[in-house]
Symmetry: C2
Subunit: 454 residues, 2 copies
Amino acid sequence: MANDSEGKQLLISSEEALHLARLDEPRLHELLAQMHVSELGELLLSCRKDEERSILLEYIPDELLGEALLELPEGMQEDLLSDFAVGEVEEMVEHLDSDDAADILQAVDKDIADEVMERLEPADRREMEQLMSHDDETAGGLMQAELFKVRSDWNVEKVLQVLRRFGKEIENLNYVYVVDSEDLLVGVLSLHALLFSQPEVVVGSLADREFPRALAGQDQEDVVRIFEKFDVLALPVVDEAGVLVGRITADDVIDVIHEEATEDMFRLAALSDHDDLAEPVGITARRRGIWLALNLLTAIAASVVIAQFEATIAKVVALAVLMPIVASMGGIAGTQTLTVIVRGIALGRVTFANARRTLIKEVSVGLVSGLSFATLIAVVASLWFPDLGIKLGAVIAAAMMVNLFAAALAGAMIPLTLQRLNIDPALASGTILTTVTDVVGFFTFLGLATIFLV
Amino acid sequence: MANDSEGKQLLISSEEALHLARLDEPRLHELLAQMHVSELGELLLSCRKDEERSILLEYIPDELLGEALLELPEGMQEDLLSDFAVGEVEEMVEHLDSDDAADILQAVDKDIADEVMERLEPADRREMEQLMSHDDETAGGLMQAELFKVRSDWNVEKVLQVLRRFGKEIENLNYVYVVDSEDLLVGVLSLHALLFSQPEVVVGSLADREFPRALAGQDQEDVVRIFEKFDVLALPVVDEAGVLVGRITADDVIDVIHEEATEDMFRLAALSDHDDLAEPVGITARRRGIWLALNLLTAIAASVVIAQFEATIAKVVALAVLMPIVASMGGIAGTQTLTVIVRGIALGRVTFANARRTLIKEVSVGLVSGLSFATLIAVVASLWFPDLGIKLGAVIAAAMMVNLFAAALAGAMIPLTLQRLNIDPALASGTILTTVTDVVGFFTFLGLATIFLV
């Protein structure tokens, strides 16, 4: 029996489902119809192969199929959708909200998407084209077209009438969007405020004109910050002219936050954003291999530094024993700083305005740690190799000091510089950092040893 | 001029604000009253010292003060609140929602909290005691008491009447909670559904009885998963008997998701959860120092391994040049696996049910990378040190193979085991991992070299 994310059991495991597909189709139909889309997603994800997934897809009720597919990683969606005929895609799209429909149409082959688009009603087609025209990671890419908008010169009674007639299909309808005759967004009115108002009041006068809004082209990280800042449950999206084009609900933002955090975490760990548990071993090995190859190059660079001091090491082998300590401590301290700053940038806590102060703080922490651990390692090294005594202690202390300082400087400067250049501050910064701490660590330790010990 | 998180400028910087506090108090009052609480939070955060913050606090309007304080890191909140008198805390609490009020009362000194509690109305006090009785990181700790509940035997008309009379103060009122005569939660009714119903229908028959709910004792990570799974905007919280005790809104969950992601990211990077940009250098250095000290111990352990092979290194110094490559590649590959699994556990993608399959996949990836990079490094090493030739190539290839395999195995087993033991899988796992990859890397490389090269 399979477990779902809350530790509760799924109704059936993928093995059982495939078994039923051969022996008891009606029972499988019945069981799948009882499952939640997220459970269907988990069931599909837990299959071993795409062929198994394709078999199960046939038994998922039409109205859940699209949503279940959208629970899967993008690559898998595209592979599975490549088997679908135009009619099947069309039916799936009809059951979906506009934002999900746009995602499905972007995942199927271009020809099929075009054909499905042609079969849509002209108004729906325009809406879909509008939704598909935005970059995935912008407010426009997140928004859905389903919303309830009213003219600012209507009164409360008319709004309630229209709402009763047309609002029924809109999920999570919490706000009414008030527009003028040009469709420019005037303000937002909560359902709640509407209920407390007199029937004859004009809604233009009730609407909250200060209600936050997102621009269609704005990055999804900005959208998250607006939600966080204003604690709203849905946000209207306008184009550059101020025309209302869609809305984003808080539940969509939750997915974005997870996605952004995963991206940062993965990039810091030398992983591609798309590394997925469900993808085949070969693909994962190749994705990660690129980063490992990059690390191999930088590790070789560090070894080239060590190679310059071969003669020194041959005379004092204790240096080979101790040198990884200096490099490792630099790597860890630098990663601490790097992570705090990358996360600070992502959460909007590290900004252009406080970058200098942040840098000063991190470098100060580096100096304090440098002093403490220099003292500690000097004692350890002198006790461990008593014949080299205080001189070895002084050399390793100086190297540790320099490397922890370099680690803090690099750990802060790398993400701040990348951010300044409009590159994701998490991207490759871990690899650059450890190159710095390895090279500086080995060079100062072995260099000082060559001068003072040999 | 300071910038806020969206790159827009704050109305005033902390320097300007402190300047006005000396020269033009009315103007400062006026400016601060125009700012959003999150901007006030940023302004306070950007002050250099707590003394400066305390000065600015005096000019923040009473109704924003509590919320602005809650924007700050917990340690800072407590420090600032320690200057507040009972009356001031009481006034602040009156302006806050119950969940925020409970957070403030938990941050002030126990004596003051008790006194404020005593001054509350008995009903409010019971509500507050209920809220404060739950662990911070549970559904009960997140929930607020403000919600709109109705009896299941009321009809729509009565509900709308009561709603118009009493619902006005409740923010983000999207759902009406339907309870029976014992206050047991029967189901949930959206405001939206209420509007579309006939006045005489009994709400017990309209309520969605399958609507998800959280148990007060449930971990906040579970709460996030329920929100994600069901795409709701608010969730009712019940106690063990099923009695409705509060609700959690989606905007509170957004904060939790950020918090949980930060925690995992920090723990993976050998940071404490509380590492904060705004805290003094000494405190940060101490917090991080604990982790650096742990890393120093493990780095020394790796050096002890190297020390066993001093004689070998003295004969073949090339080994000292190449050995960090083997260790470094193991560290990176292991971190890749570790990060994917820690994140997979956090997002509910790696579960008890698929743990075995995940482990097999990761180890397979380790074998594939091991083979590829073993070949690559064998060629590099043979070309670099031609006099040691193919033998050195074979030794480093074997060591690389073994270490990438060990890295995958450890990267997967460490978080899965911690999870099994109910310990946060991110905690200290990076340090344990690099200990494994360093020790295995140095031992196999130098050990094989001792057997075959010397």
